[in-house]
């Protein structure tokens, strides 16, 4: 049982959610309420990680993080070490490949709010940020929760991109998913089995929790 790998995975998941929460709400609301030229393209780009093989994403990230690429050079100059094969690189990659999981449910949740409810809020004297806080979020928060839970669970399970971008560096980029792979290669099926079971349990728990919460807080049906 590789506790540092588990801790690393949980940390990665938690930080991903922390960053994607405001990003998901902001972008999700924008896409739900406004129309602008190129909106279709933006939505397609956001959905891309859903269908792209993880290795493709991993490949492009490696190139972007590389020592010759602008992003890699910038990072190296700022922090003194490369972005690839580091926890920060993983976090970066995690934010990207979780975009559809974070944004799409939230966008649907905001879209489900009738536009005239927002207009009514504006006519009640509420400024746009107040409308977000007092109308949109209270109505769409199950979607926000779903998005965060999905992102967290997906991060725990992501393998291909993590392996390509992070390598298998203990304490730095060896997430629990990688650790399982690592243990199998070391003929240590016992450890692999324990970690797999734990991951399965965590995944089931988080998904079940989010469904139960979401259902509990739906509006009551009209009698």
């Amino acid at each position: 049982m590789d506790w540092s790998a588990l801790l690393l995975s949980l940390k990665l998941g938690a930080l991903t959610v922390a960053f994607l929460l405001p990003l998901g709400i902001g972008i999700g609301r924008l896409l739900a309420t406004r129309d602008f030229p190129g909106k279709d393209l933006v939505e397609a780009l956001i959905a891309l990680p859903l269908i792209l093989p993880p290795t493709v994403l991993g490949y492009y990230l490696l190139v972007a993080f590389g020592r010759a690429a602008p992003l890699g050079v910038l990072w190296q100059s700022l922090f003194g070490h490369p972005l690839a094969f580091s926890f920060e690189g993983l976090l970066f990659a995690s934010l990207l490949f979780n975009l559809p999981f974070a944004i799409q449910p939230i966008q649907r949740g905001f879209e489900a709010i009738a536009p005239d409810v927002r207009e009514a809020a504006a006519c009640c004297g509420l400024r746009p940020l107040a409308v977000l806080a007092r109308v949109d979020l209270p109505l769409a928060w199950p979607s926000v929760l779903t998005a965060m839970v999905l992102s967290f669970a997906h991060t725990l399970g992501e393998f291909g991109v993590v392996l390509m971008v992070g390598g298998n560096i203990p304490g730095e980029t060896r997430t629990i998913a990688i650790a399982i792979y690592d243990r199998v290669q070391a003929f240590d099926n016992a450890a692999a089995g324990i970690m797999s079971a734990l991951l399965l349990a965590i995944a089931l728990l988080t998904i079940a929790l989010s469904f139960a919460l979401g259902r509990r807080l739906l509006p009551p049906r009209r009698p």
Partner: protein, 382 residues
């Protein structure tokens, strides 16, 4: 300048060319078919829509002035807007909905004031209920209370009663009438229900494709439309064109195709002018061929309630005439194919000058007397 003053103009996407005002305490109804721009005008007043050009001012404060680039967003305007779909906040109780509009009061005072407003609309007992637990009429009352909570300078009602049943609607009319007595602000009601407009409004604005055809007290507008378009808008049926002919002796008539009618002509219309005229279906009388003004053939006969609706094709131009008769008076002989004659009592004929200032049939853009400084585009009823 107190009250609401609106002047809007744009070519598209929804064409608008209107100017009107509403005094404090006055309810102006914007009436017209779908697409006539009435909801757009309302939303422009609320700040939910930004027109290409124009000006909106309320009690001296300019809310919108395209020329000066001034546009206040809705939350900076004191409007109360009642939506057709209620648009209540589903996650808040009735009281919560009303309190949402009380941001201008100190927190401690909001709950009590919300309760007060709910009492005004007779919903105090349901203050805790969520919208999902309220009937349509109750929801609309909450929406009204919420609109009033804002202490608006203009009250805007966007077809607020079209989604409720008739009985509820009537009690809501009474509700609104009571509230209006206390409220000293202009109110604009958008509706496609003429009866409702006549019941509630002090002034009626007929809208068609973004223009005001006619404006005035509802009874006036309905009884004496100034143009064929206005007449059609208020439901006049038998609208025809002809030429006014004045007798040297002081009488007047209309040359209508090959026919000649006697009318009480309004003095403003010169001899020989092209006119439109209309007559209510119930005023047409059947008579003998010698005494009649026109002859024709019955093409359709329908019964609706206690009324027979008979349509005639008149000689020689097959102009369609609609006649309403009480079923008790209608004879068997008035069947499709029968030849009949009818007369048009002069008192029932309403004459309108063609090509009037607000004649929408004139077509083209801005062809109806351009905008002067105050932007008076509308025609007022005499």
């Amino acid at each position: 300048m107190s009250g609401l003053h609106v002047r809007l103009r744009q070519a598209g996407p929804i064409p608008l060319a209107v100017a009107f005002s509403a005094a404090p305490g006055e309810l102006v109804a914007l009436f017209g078919p779908s697409g006539s721009g009435k909801s757009t005008i309302l939303r422009a007043i609320a700040g939910l829509y930004r027109p290409r050009s124009g000006r909106i001012a309320v009690d001296g404060t300019v809310w919108f002035d395209a020329g000066r680039g001034r546009f206040l967003p809705p939350w900076q305007r004191r409007v109360g807007l009642v939506f057709q779909s209620y648009a209540l906040f589903p996650h808040l109780s009735a009281r919560g909905n009303v309190m949402a509009a009380l941001g201008h009061l100190p927190r401690a005072a909001r709950r009590a004031r919300a309760q007060e407003l709910l009492e005004q609309v007779h919903l105090a007992a349901l203050a805790e209920r969520r919208p999902a637990m309220l009937s349509g009429g109750e929801q609309q009352r909450v929406a009204l209370a919420r609109a009033l909570a804002r202490e608006p300078h203009v009250l805007l009602l966007d077809e607020p009663f079209s989604a409720v049943d008739r009985m509820t609607r009537e009690s809501l009319y009474r509700e609104l009438a009571q509230i209006r007595r206390r409220l000293a602000v202009p109110a604009i009601l958008v509706t496609h229900d003429l009866e409702e407009a006549c019941l509630l409004a002090d002034r009626l604005c007929l809208l068609d494709r973004g223009r005001i055809l006619q404006e005035g007290p509802p009874a006036e507008v309905v009884a004496r439309p100034v143009s064929a378009a206005a007449a059609r808008a208020v439901g006049h049926r038998n609208i025809f064109s002809g030429r006014l002919v004045r007798d040297p002796g002081g009488g007047a008539g209309i040359a209508w195709c090959t026919r000649r009618l006697v009318v009480d002509a309004p003095p403003a219309i010169p001899d020989g002018a092209a006119v439109d005229w209309s007559i209510p279906p119930h005023a047409v009388e059947f008579t003998s061929a010698e005494a009649g003004d026109a002859t024709g053939t019955v093409i359709e006969r329908l019964r609706l309630g206690e009324t027979e609706i008979i349509r005639l094709a008149l000689d020689p131009d097959h102009a369609t005439l609609t006649v309403h008769l009480p079923s008790s008076e209608a004879q068997e002989a008035l069947a499709p194919g029968a030849r009949v004659a009818c007369r048009f009592p002069a008192a029932a004929i309403h004459v309108m000058l063609q090509g009037d200032a607000a004649g929408a049939d004139a077509g083209g853009d801005g062809g109806n007397g351009g905008a002067d400084e105050t932007g008076a585009w509308q025609a007022r009823s005499p």
